[in-house]
């Protein structure tokens, strides 16, 4: 085995991949949430649609998007591998476990949370991303040119209360996942310092609340707008 494969088949190497892909996805979330904030602009969706167009056509963004796909896949694949390793490390379980006394629920259930989030991602991609790439989307014309009206698709989708609830709930799970994952990634990378770790933990907590909350506010906002 070469040193590279050896490293990435060690527990620490695999954990490193989990952390790096996780952190990349966190950065992706920042971009995603910032762009989507254009939904609140109240300009009838022009800025949002222009942004959506940019995101699907720009070559650099395209490269980044492939990195995102790879990250998601790697994050999932390594999570499965590690879960199998971890399961094998304790073939016989305990009759009684008081895990809540020594660790938080989300830290112990990252796999469950991740699975739910993965299902959500599939649904989410199917709702919008697939529509944007291959679906038939109405066109809209602004001064700068003709665009696919994703804004309309979004508005239509989130007038459905069921989908809104699904999204809000999924964001809660994302929040829990991030709440552990954010600081945990830094710990795994070995970035632990008396001065900075408290700040990382604080930012992680804030991030895990703020970002999912912003995401969740979008379908809610659109749903209530659609009622008027």
């Amino acid at each position: 085995m070469s040193w590279v494969t050896k490293t990435f088949s060690s527990t620490l190497g695999r954990k490193l991949l989990m952390a790096l892909t996780g952190l990349f996805l966190i950065i992706f979330l920042i971009g995603h949430v910032s762009g989507n904030m254009l939904l609140f602009k109240g300009d009838g969706g022009q800025a949002f649609n222009e942004y959506a167009d940019f995101m699907t056509t720009n070559q650099l963004v395209k490269a980044l998007s492939y990195l995102t796909y790879i990250s998601i896949i790697a994050h999932v694949v390594y999570a499965i591998i590690l879960s199998v390793v971890n399961k094998k490390a304790r073939p016989v379980g305990y009759a009684e476990v008081k895990a809540s006394s020594n660790s938080s629920w989300n830290s112990r259930n990252m796999g469950v949370l991740g699975t739910i989030i993965l299902i959500f991602i599939v649904v989410h991609l199917q709702n919008f991303w697939a529509q944007m790439h291959w679906g038939s989307i109405p066109m809209v014309t602004y001064e700068s040119g003709e665009y696919r009206d994703l804004y309309a698709v979004v508005n239509l989708a989130f007038s459905n209360i069921g989908l809104v609830i699904l999204y809000v709930v999924a964001m809660a799970f994302l929040g829990f996942h991030l709440n552990h994952g954010f600081a945990s990634a830094f710990q795994t990378l070995g970035l632990n310092h008396k001065k900075y770790t408290p700040a990382i933990k604080f930012i992680g907590s804030a991030f895990s609340i703020l970002v999912p909350a912003l995401f969740a506010s979008m379908p809610i906002y659109i749903y209530f707008s659609s009622l008027n």
């Binding site: 620490l12 971890n86 490390a89 379980g93 660790s103 552990h180 945990s184 710990q187």
Partner: protein, 249 residues
């Protein structure tokens, strides 16, 4: 006080094992948990039944030999070793569930006794400074800042009991391994072999079949010596920089 014990009994490694229930009466709250088990064993002996086998030695909380997963927690409800756990932590009428450490790297030997030889092998993989007896410099020729010495000491207080592995949902030995890697990575004496040590000890840890870390913090929360999670971060750092920069291809 009167207690019901639900104790894991397993004749040997090949045996499947099961729980047995025992009732004990007249237990004093001044007894240590192991003294309570001594009472049980005396009673079993009198009835010609095989006593419950469990590991223990110093009964001062330092040798690390005692184990026992008690009521869903390694070493029981207090953050201490089982030998330092006293019956005043329990109430009259309690049912106490006692299980062995559970990990594939810690096979059960008998009843509550497990084989922790994996820990020895991890240390053998590099948990030392390679100096022979004699021919070393004067002790004061190696000045070490007090803060570093204290922090290295904190890592070095690990007693190798295995509670971290028992507590971890992944049966991971990262806290144990990282404590030794940390101690020697911080001290000047450990610098020469720093990279090899990290690579080899982690490799051995994996080879023993311990799980990976998911940073739940259960290990540190249950560690009788309060070994900090900082050590795991340091081990990660040591390992990554070692594999990236060492000459071992």
């Amino acid at each position: 006080m009167n207690l019901t014990l639900k104790v894991w009994r397993q004749k040997n490694n090949a045996d499947k094992g099961s729980f047995n229930n025992y009732t004990l009466t007249g237990i004093s709250e001044d007894m240590s948990f192991l003294e309570m088990l001594d009472v049980l064993n005396e009673e079993l002996s009198e009835k010609n039944e095989d006593p419950v086998h469990f590991d223990h030695d110093c009964r001062e909380g330092i040798c690390g030999m005692c184990s026992l997963y008690i009521n869903g927690k390694p070493h029981g409800p207090q953050q201490t070793t089982t030998c330092q756990l006293h019956m005043r932590s329990f109430k009259d009428g309690d049912t106490i569930v006692i299980e062995p450490w559970r990990a594939s790297a810690f096979p059960v030997v008998k009843d509550l006794v497990v084989d922790r030889g994996a820990f020895d092998r991890i240390i053998q993989a590099g948990g030392y400074v390679s100096v022979n007896t004699g021919g070393v410099p004067d002790a004061n020729e190696i000045p070490i800042p007090k803060r570093i010495a204290d922090e290295a000491f904190d890592a070095a207080t690990c007693i190798g009991c295995g509670a971290c592995v028992a507590a971890c949902k992944n049966a991971s030995a990262m806290l144990f391994t990282s404590a030794k890697i940390s101690q020697l990575a911080m001290l000047p004496q450990g610098q020469v072999e720093r990279k090899e040590r990290a690579e080899q000890m982690v490799a051995q840890m994996d080879a023993e079949g311990f799980g990976a870390c998911t940073n739940t913090g259960a290990c540190s929360a249950e560690c009788p010596k309060g070994i900090s999670l900082t050590n795991i971060a340091r081990m990660n750092r040591e390992y990554f920089s070692a594999v990236a920069s060492s000459e071992n291809v």
